[in-house]
């Protein structure tokens, strides 16, 4: 039973979540200036130009192996994008594809990254959420409800994924293990796609940003405070709180 078969036997959640792109504040200025998110060459996909977005979560925690204070990325931003973009995805992966090496040991032997790579069917992220978390809220909070033993033995990839997302150790270190990745082969124009931007207050009333936001009529600025925070984790929590509030206000968890 392939992962895709398991998912196609699962109903999708009733409402799609927004897509999210996290970046540093410096990258954020560049993206807003260009007015689009661009695919970049990806060595892990034979040099193809791809753009990676996350489904419904501003996955930001530093990767496993890097201590909580190892990299002080002190001003992250999150671009929250229209869920309609799901239609344009070329591939869906249930976790950060770049982190497969970190997850491999937990997923178990005999499973390759390709066993988890799914087509760009727009219903797949919704089915993944339903199959493993039941609701958008529980996906956002990373509270999986489907356990490995709930899945038929023949569903090796699905069982491995259930095992991965249930592992508290990796979840604490790397929240991308349980965050669905969407891959795109074409650039995404912000003018029509940007629905919210979470960023430091001082960035959001920068004249360059104001000018860029004027070209994105649906974008809601969601500032966060920068003082008193000196841990990457606290910025991650801030991003989650702001995106959570936005998704809630749009009925994403209803």
């Amino acid at each position: 039973l392939r992962l895709i078969d398991y998912l196609m036997a699962t109903a999708p959640t009733p409402k799609p979540l927004n897509l999210v792109h996290c970046a540093t504040v410096g990258q954020g200025f560049d993206i807003l200036d260009r007015g689009q998110l661009r695919p970049e060459e990806r060595s892990e996909y034979d040099g193809m130009d791809l753009l990676f977005l996350f489904y419904g979560r501003p996955a930001y925690k530093p990767a496993a192996g890097v201590g909580a204070s190892g990299i002080l990325d002190v001003a992250p931003i999150a671009l929250v994008l229209d869920p309609v973009l799901l239609q344009a995805a070329v591939r869906v992966v249930p976790f950060d594809s770049g982190g497969f090496a970190r997850y491999e040991a937990l997923l178990g032997p005999g499973l390759a990254r390709t066993d988890f790579e799914l087509s760009g069917d727009p219903s797949l992220p919704l089915r993944l959420v339903r199959a493993f978390y039941q609701t958008n809220r529980q996906y956002f909070d990373q509270e999986p409800v489907t356990r490995e033993k709930d899945i038929p033995l023949s569903g090796r990839a699905a069982r491995a994924y259930a095992r991965l997302i249930a592992d508290p150790a990796i979840r604490d270190m790397d929240d991308r293990a349980g965050t669905i990745e969407l891959q795109f082969s074409a650039a995404i124009p912000l003018a029509s796609a940007l629905q919210a931007i979470v960023a430091p207050a001082s960035m959001l009333d920068d004249p360059e940003v104001i000018e860029a936001l004027a070209r994105c009529p649906d974008a809601v600025p969601l500032p966060y405070k920068t003082y008193g925070r000196f841990e990457p984790l606290s910025f991650a929590n801030t991003l989650y709180e702001r995106v959570d509030t936005f998704l809630e206000s749009r009925g994403g968890f209803a």
Partner: protein, 538 residues
């Protein structure tokens, strides 16, 4: 970890020379730069190394610092104009410059400064400026900003101060203004005294923000919306007791979890875990819906199975006859059932090598429809005689073909369409959210109630059950209203090739003429009733 370090400068994460900066330290004990970790009282709790700091540093005169001293703060009004001090001295100096020209065109940063300094009235004034500025970008996004960045955090703070049940709701409250009403979304239902108190808090906060939210003449209406009813994390939606051997793999396929769970029990199987008493016990413990599955026409077996199970259990009876005829003597329904009994006419499942997958899928379809009907406002399947048909279509329009097959079964079995529940098949996201599409559904099942439920969607769409459509209906004889409905269905079907009824028959059973409404000439068609298993239009 070190207790002492030297301040060496200030990092500017925004690289724009404005806003709060990060004091940076070094120490002989560390190769890496250090940042201070703050304690709740504003003092330095520790120094933490950072391997990489993605921000330019403005270097300052080296200054010795220790854990336990007041923390150092820094704010840039410009790249060359940095205010840096410890604790209260920093607050006083920043307060003195809150109207600095550098902040004049930065209302969002000014809000941050006012919040840092606990200046509530200035914060609201800056918020008003920010809102007016954002209005120039777009009304909807300005309103969203105001609700999510000002009202919602204020309401959360006020709720958390209230403590108790209201305080427990605070962290995930979201408030949105729509006209004269404020809707408060909460994670859990809000009722009674909690609702009254929370509404009062919301009105008070809106009064405080009256410069930002113009108070309506009649006052604010407060509404609550309960979101995210968390489903049970575990436990089946339905419990199924297999009263007899239906094939060795039926139980296995029923127990598979395709997004919703079915607990399976076996009437005759020895062992305490999965037998009749365990089934009855689980029904009481979980509150899940119970089903007992029997095979054949013998009413005694059904009655025996139901007698031994807890009240309210629905019987699903796989018949051996291909058609259930209301006018025939049917032993299955001879006895007055104490609870609902659903008959599934044979479709070649038995004796034809058909797999347990299909039987399990049919049981799941019926269980899902029963659960959905209970949860929606449709007819409850808790008593009386019902019958379930499922169909697969073929040809270029398999959906329409399946619907035609089902409609034929309605006619052949003389069943009334009153209270007919329709199970759409092969559900896709777009389809699940809307009414079952297609001209055939509109024509043939206009009076049916479509059941849109994720559990039905899962099992109709597995690829194993291969079911294009299903219908579940109470066993009621056709009435004159049904024949009239049938006449309309015929009329709707014929209207697709643009045939239109010419007049109406005096009775639904009479002949009815149709004209072709073609571009060049008129053709005439006479439709008349054909005896099927009663009389009606064909």
């Amino acid at each position: 970890m070190t207790d002492a370090a030297d301040l060496i400068g200030y990092a500017d994460p925004l690289r724009k020379g404005i806003g709060f900066l990060i004091p940076v330290f070094d120490s002989r004990d560390h190769n890496a730069l250090l940042v201070q970790r703050l304690a709740a009282d504003g003092r330095i709790a520790a120094f933490e190394p950072v391997e990489a700091l993605d921000a330019p540093i403005t270097y300052a005169v080296r200054q010795a610092t220790r854990v336990g001293e007041e923390a150092i703060w820094a704010f840039a009004f410009a790249a060359s104009d940095i205010l840096a001090e410890r604790g209260m001295r920093f607050r006083e100096a920043l307060h003195a410059r809150i109207d600095d020209q550098a902040l004049a065109d930065r209302p969002l940063l000014s809000i941050e400064v006012a919040e840092f300094l606990d200046l509530a009235e200035r914060r609201i004034a800056f918020a008003k400026t920010a809102y007016e500025r954002l209005l120039t970008l777009g009304t909807a996004s300005a309103d969203s900003w105001r609700d999510l960045s000002i009202l919602t955090p204020d309401l959360r703070y006020a709720a958390s101060r209230a403590g108790g049940e209201i305080g427990a709701l605070a962290a995930r409250l979201v408030a949105r203004i729509d006209g004269n009403a404020v809707t408060i979304w909460t994670a859990d239902p809000v009722r009674g005294a909690v609702a009254t108190s929370l509404a009062a808090i919301a009105r008070r906060e809106l009064d405080t923000l009256s410069d930002l939210y113009i108070p309506p003449r009649s006052g604010w209406t407060v509404r609550f919306s309960h979101r995210d009813p968390r489903p049970r994390a575990a436990g089946p939606d339905a419990l199924v007791l297999l009263a007899e051997d239906l094939g060795r793999d039926v139980g296995h396929y029923l127990a598979e979890d395709f997004g919703w769970r079915v607990g399976v029990y076996f009437m005759g199987r020895p062992g305490p875990m999965r037998d009749l008493s365990a089934f009855n016990e689980a029904l009481g413990d979980t509150g899940a819906a119970g089903f007992v599955v029997v095979r054949g026409e013998g009413e005694r077996r059904v009655a025996d199975a139901l007698r031994e199970t807890a009240p309210g259990v629905v019987a699903i009876q796989f018949g051996t006859k291909p058609r259930y005829r209301l006018h025939d003597r049917d032993e299955a329904f001879d006895m007055s059932p104490p609870s609902a009994r659903i008959y599934v006419p044979a479709t070649g499942l038995f004796g034809s090598g058909s797999s347990g997958q299909n039987i399990a899928a049919t049981v799941r379809q019926i269980a899902a429809a029963t659960l959905a009907a209970r949860e929606e406002s449709g007819p409850r399947i808790d008593r009386g005689k019902w019958v379930y048909f499922r169909a697969n279509g073929s040809g270029p329009e398999p959906d329409s073909d399946a619907l035609a097959v089902l409609y034929d079964r309605l006619l052949a079995n003389d069943l009334s369409v009153e209270h007919l529940l329709f199970l759409p098949g092969k559900t896709r996201p777009s389809r699940a959210a809307e009414r079952y599409p297609g001209w055939a559904y509109e024509a043939l099942f206009a009076s049916a109630t479509p059941l849109r439920d994720r559990r039905i969607a899962v099992i109709m769409d597995t690829g194993r059950s291969k079911t294009d459509a299903g219908m579940l209906l109470p066993v009621l004889p056709k009435s004159e209203r049904d024949w009239e409905e049938h006449r309309r269905a015929v009329e709707r079907v014929l209207s697709f090739p643009r045939w239109h009824a010419k007049g109406r028959p005096a009775r639904a059973h009479d002949e009815m003429p149709f004209d072709i409404d073609g571009p060049s000439r008129i053709r005439h068609l006479l439709a008349r009733p054909e005896p099927v298993h009663g009389s009606g239009w064909t």
